[in-house]
């Protein structure tokens, strides 16, 4: 390699690495889509709110039949707020001139019309500033906040201007402050349902958000539409209502309905954005209220069983004009409080509300849900009442799955089976996971009533919106030959037709499910990126699980791709070929394990680790693992830890590992650390050797214990001189101190703690 090429490569690493200076800080992110869906055969203008979106260039929508393009980028309010305020003033002035003195111009939000420093580059002259400001004003004409101002009545305009001023004063939320306008084309034959939408920026892909393809006529809310506004937006049944709630906001829609008409009003809010990291409760908890023309409440819903998204099943009591109100349960709001509410007639199924004729409305029930999922291919039974105590217990012959209902408050369903001493038996309830309100309590007793095992909640890693893992699971070894009872109840002694469940009674059926996070991977200069793989071990399975890429494109690979025996989670690494990954590459992963002597393969399910209410974490399922990069990505040299097979580290001792470095001067500046090592394992020293760096790893005496296996992931750091805007020189020094930053990680190396 010539000196110039070497320099170019090294420079490439440093330039690319510089982009990694604060990698997470610049990961593009979207926090909401509004509207979060559109009708088949339509073209929809959508706002995507997020952060680090300035150079968003493409849109990826999963599935077929939906195409999207980026229309333009809109800076955050702290950059363009003054220009937008000026637009409002101009429109209000024009409205006042056209409509007489009834209009009051609001006070100027700022005594100085000068653009903010963030909007006006330093060094511009007065004329240049004015011209630049004019350009910004022109460029804002299709801003979502002002593009429809011409269509508003003077009163509406005044109301919207007032709301704008309030909004402009509110706390900024940088994570959703930027807006990218999208145009989304939905083919007439595009399959209805949820899609994943991500934006591609220069720094890579954003997280996915839900975009729905629907079949009902779509309606966008038209502010003002609060309850005391005299002319509330009129809609017709059926309709799909779209809106956003700001703090204290209540959105209203009016429609005519006739006596006896059965309506289903179904809100989707949490389904669109399952978790809000910085809110408590950690999602938009929508409520629906239906009122007649006299303002009397006709129906109310704030949930659907255990699902926070409300469904209202309603029989209309008389011909009238009705008002539907949508709000957050504690009147919060923000741009990411986005909803879609389906308003339609109920025609397909018997109306559970009809049984309560005196009370024409009720909240939703499990009957609106999808049919129960069938599991395991086991024989199926239906519960037979009466089975409320041991003497009336329903006979079972495991393995079997029973579908039953805790039919009334205090009900307990009892089943009996004959077991043999030493046999292992599993009893499992599936209810909450299928939307049932049942909070199950499961007990296994012998014929005398002595409890052999019991369980209330069985929490396991799962991808979905459930936050209360209410389903029960138990596994027990039977102490003697004889009759055993399985007892199912609601732990809070509730019951009713919706309290359905499926009970599996069987020998252990060991199995596993594997999730990988994140679902969007942006490759940088470093040779690898970490992935977290989590295993859900079923019915006592504790064997090792090997993870592999399924039919990977050339150049892709996994490092440390084994979940060790008994472990539920491990970090491994993904490597990708050098160069840009454009368009993104969809990867499939599989988990393989030996279960009862046979090889079992399961797809590894992509997911994203979302935070709820500041500190709780949940996995949100995704459709695919997409790997992307900057368009100009230049991967650095293939630096890796030289190790074939498992690195054995003696407990209470040390071991050397070599990081082989090409002989490039700049690479000497690389610094190494262990990334999230287990407690007790540390990097004792790093020594320069002819081939690169020798890492001395030290394991403490007892932690981690002998036999502990995992992956060694080495993180690489560099230092650089901050630019003039970043760093501040100390007094008496010409330059600011260097900034240390992470370049990325090296491919994972499996290790095991062995006896010394």
């Amino acid at each position: 390699m010539t000196t110039s090429r070497r320099l170019l490569l090294v420079t490439g690493l440093v330039v690319a690495a510089s982009a990694w200076a604060q990698p997470a800080r610049r990961d593009p992110h979207i926090g909401y889509l509004y509207p979060a869906g559109g009708k088949q055969g339509s073209v929809v203008q959508v706002s995507a709110g997020g952060q680090f979106l300035k150079d968003a260039s493409r849109v990826y929508v999963s599935g077929s039949g939906v195409r999207a393009t980026v229309t333009r980028y809109v800076p955050p309010m702290n950059v363009v707020g003054k220009e937008l305020a000026e637009q409002f003033r101009q429109r209000l002035r024009a409205a006042r001139d056209g409509h007489g003195p009834a209009m009051d111009e609001p006070p100027s939000p700022s005594p100085s019309p000068a653009p903010s420093p963030a909007a006006a580059p330093p060094g511009e002259t007065g004329d240049e500033k004015a011209a630049a400001r004019e350009r910004r004003l022109e460029g804002l004409m299709d801003h979502p906040l002002i593009k429809n101002l011409d269509q508003l009545s003077p009163g509406e305009l005044q109301y919207v201007a007032k709301e704008f001023r309030k909004r402009n004063r509110r706390q900024r939320n940088p994570q959703i402050a930027e807006t990218v306008l999208l145009e989304i084309t939905i083919d007439p034959d595009a399959a209805p349902g949820d899609r994943e939408l991500r934006l591609q920026t220069a720094a890579g892909l954003t997280n996915p958000l839900c975009f729905q393809v629907g079949q009902l006529p779509e309606v966008l809310e038209h502010e003002p539409n609060n309850p005391d506004w005299p002319q509330i937006q009129q809609v017709q049944v059926p309709a799909l209502l779209n809106g956003q709630l700001l703090p204290g906001d209540v959105d209203c829609f009016k429609f005519r309905a006739t006596s006896g008409q059965r309506l289903v009003i179904e809100a989707e809010a949490r389904r669109l954005i399952p978790f809000l990291a910085d809110a408590v409760p950690g999602w938009f908890q929508a409520t629906l209220t239906l009122r007649d023309s006299g303002g009397n409440e006709v129906a109310y819903a704030d949930e659907r069983g255990a699902d926070p998204d409300p469904v209202m099943l309603c029989r209309i009591p008389r011909d009238d004009e009705y008002r539907l109100e949508i709000r957050d349960s504690i009147d919060r709001g923000r741009q990411d409080f986005v909803y879609r509410v389906a308003l339609r007639e109920r025609v397909d199924r018997p109306d559970p509300a009809s049984s309560a004729a005196a009370s024409p409305a009720s909240s939703g029930s499990a009957t609106e849900r999808e049919p129960w999922a069938r599991v395991d291919g086991l024989p199926e039974l239906r519960e037979t009442e009466p089975n409320d105590d041991g003497s009336a217990a329903q006979e079972l012959e495991p393995p079997v799955v029973v579908t039953g209902t805790i039919g009334q408050p205090g009900d307990e369903d009892v089943f009996r089976f004959r077991g043999r001493a030493g046999d292992s038996v599993v009893a499992e309830i599936t209810a909450r996971r299928q939307g049932s309100p049942l909070d199950s309590l499961l007990r296994l007793t012998d014929a005398s009533g002595k409890v052999v095992a019991w369980n209330d909640d069985h929490k396991e890693v799962d991808a979905g919106p459930i936050t209360h893992h209410a389903d029960s699971w138990l596994m027990a070894k039977l102490p003697a030959d004889g009759i055993y009872h399985v007892r199912v109840a609601d732990v809070q002694r509730h019951g009713g037709p919706a309290f359905q469940y499926r009970l599996r009674v069987s020998p252990p059926l060991p199995d596993f499910v594997v999730f990988v996070t994140p679902s969007g991977v942006n490759m940088g200069a470093a040779p690898a990126v970490p992935l977290t793989v989590q295993a859900v071990r079923r019915d006592g399975f504790d064997g090792a699980i090997d993870v592999a890429l399924k039919n990977p494109p050339p150049g892709f690979g996994l490092g440390g791709a084994r979940i060790p025996r008994g472990r539920e989670s491990i970090r491994m690494t993904l490597t990708a070929p050098p160069g840009p990954l454009d368009p993104p590459v969809a990867l499939q992963l599989e988990g393989h394990a030996t279960v009862d002597g046979r090889t079992v393969s399961r797809p590894v399910l992509p997911a994203d680790d979302l935070t709820q209410a500041f500190m709780l974490h949940h996995l949100a399922p995704a459709e695919a693992v997409l790997v992307s990069s900057r368009p100009n990505r230049r991967a650095g040299p293939p630096v890796r830890v030289e190790q074939s097979g498992v690195l054995r580290i003696p407990s209470g001792g040390t071991v050397q590992a070599l990081v082989r470095l090409p002989g490039r001067p700049m690479l000497r500046a690389l610094q190494f650390e262990l990334s999230e090592p287990p407690k007790g394992l540390s990097l004792q020293s790093v020594r320069q050797v002819p081939l690169g760096r020798e890492l001395v790893l030290e394991a403490e005496d007892k932690a981690p214990p002998v036999g502990h296996a995992g992956n060694l992931i080495v993180e690489v750091f560099m230092e650089r001189q901050p630019g003039p805007k970043e760093g501040k020189a100390e007094a008496g020094k010409a330059t600011a101190p260097k900034v240390r930053f992470s370049v990325g990680v090296l491919p994972a190396v499996p290790f095991e703690i062995v006896p010394r």
Binding site: Q22, G50, P174, Q175, I176, M615, F741, S742
Partner: protein
């Protein structure tokens, strides 16, 4: 009426229902076993608790980790030396750095709880929550064992909160409302520090007295019965109460301090609260809590630190300095921390954008005065400040040590209406967790 009664009457008259309790018989019955009072010969007489509600970051204050890199230190990566060789603290605390010989730092406080309520309870009561009991926080215990029942004769209650209670839990717990703190309300950084029930924000002292005179002229029943002994006693009590309230008011009147000194504390609510605390200590108040909010920095952490740490630095360092100059530090314990630390790893990703979460596994506390040695560091955290690596200190160890210095036996029993055997502070390893190395 006794002096104590007059004070109670005065405060009840002024403060309203919240302070009437001492007169309503809520205290333990006379025949109930009396708690063991504090040892009057103990070195510490008063406590100033500086409560940084929300949880300050230990890395940015008293346990900096510049070697951990940008993802841990963020832009605050240049800790500064202190007046104690070898001890470094955060770069935004230069004035405190100069006072390091007056305080010790515990860098290994731990309880592992990341929820505000539970962690606040743990750090201020020393007890695990549960068992259907709410334990009193240390201030209430001090009010019980060093308060009116044991020689305290101050004009204001022995336990004062500047300026508002936290609201996370009942500070007096099962001891009852008579040991709850007197929360001043108001803002000492305003021109007139309106103290709840003592100083009105809108009515001057002269105008208040004028109103009392006017009221007398309207008191037709009193004028009709000028020689009634009951009315006479009432009038005497009221007169004493007014005098007492007026005297108590002077405690909170910061206009009596020189501007130069007020500026040294910082013209902020926190800084002026520190000055009020010093005045209250001079008056003999037993326990003062300064509640400083805004430390729950999930977002904009570093921007907020650049605003709040200099306030803390100025106020706390001046307080230590003044207490020392006035000879009060030897008898006044100052301790400063929050309910937990913050996640050492900066959360750069949205929506946090450079925030820090809750971290109860390892955090720091500053202790000074009242028998605590200065210039020491107790315990240690790992290279990233994530875990304790040496000398774990649990909340009960810290509070038990403060009790010891106040002359309160941590193992003493607390009165309760359930007849339970409840001691002041649980002990770690038979009391071996106490901070003997700095006492």
């Amino acid at each position: 009426m006794s002096r104590r009664g007059a004070i109670k009457t005065a405060l009840a008259w002024g403060a309203g229902v919240a302070l009437i309790d001492p007169l309503t018989g809520l205290a333990a019955p006379e025949d109930e076993k009396k708690p063991v009072p504090a040892d009057p010969k103990a070195p510490a007489r008063s406590v100033i608790q500086i409560w940084l509600a929300g949880g300050p970051c230990h890395l940015d204050t008293f346990d900096p980790k510049p070697e951990a890199g940008n993802d841990f230190s963020g832009p605050l990566a240049k800790p500064i030396p202190t007046s104690v060789p070898g001890v470094m603290i955060g770069e935004l605390l230069p004035m405190l750095a100069q006072q390091a010989d007056k305080y010790s730092l515990i860098r290994s406080l731990t309880h592992g709880v990341n929820a505000h309520e539970t962690a606040s309870y743990l750090v201020q009561t020393g007890h695990q929550p549960g068992e259907g009991l709410v334990h009193p926080c240390l201030g209430a215990v001090v009010a019980l064992l060093k308060g009116y029942d044991h020689g305290y004769q101050g004009l204001v209650p022995p336990y004062v909160v500047l300026t508002t209670s936290q609201g996370r839990f009942s500070e007096s717990g099962f001891l009852g409302e008579q040991y709850a703190p007197f929360a001043t309300g108001g803002d000492p950084n305003q021109k007139r520090f309106a103290v709840e029930g003592i100083i009105s924000e809108e009515i001057s002292d002269a105008r208040l007295l004028g109103r009392r005179e006017l009221l007398k002229t309207l008191d037709t029943l009193g004028m009709a019965l000028p020689t009634s002994p009951q009315f006479d006693r009432f009038n005497q009590a009221e007169k004493k109460a007014l005098v007492t309230v007026a005297k108590a008011g002077t405690l909170f009147d910061l206009s009596q301090e020189k501007d130069e000194l007020r500026n040294r504390y910082g013209r902020t609510t926190f800084g002026q609260s520190c000055l009020v605390a010093r005045r209250l200590v001079e008056h003999g108040v037993r326990y003062i809590t300064i509640n400083s909010g805004g430390w729950d920095t999930h977002k904009q952490h570093f921007q907020i630190m650049r605003r709040m740490l200099p306030e803390l630095d100025r106020g706390l360092s001046t307080l230590l300095s003044e207490l020392s100059e006035r000879g009060l530090l030897d008898s006044t314990i100052v301790w400063c921390c929050g309910e937990f630390g913050r996640t050492p790893r900066v959360q750069w990703a949205p929506p946090w954008n450079g925030g820090r979460g809750h971290h109860g596994k390892c955090f720091s506390v500053l202790v000074a005065g009242g028998g605590f040695k200065g210039g020491r560091v107790v315990g240690a955290s790992d290279s990233r400040g994530e875990e304790v690596t040496d000398r774990p200190v649990h909340p009960q160890d810290l509070l038990g040590s403060i009790c010891k210095l106040l002359g309160i036996d941590p193992a003493a029993k607390l009165p309760n209406d359930r007849g339970l055997d409840l001691q002041v502070m649980p002990s770690t390893e038979g009391g071996r967790g106490l901070l003997a190395e700095i006492m």
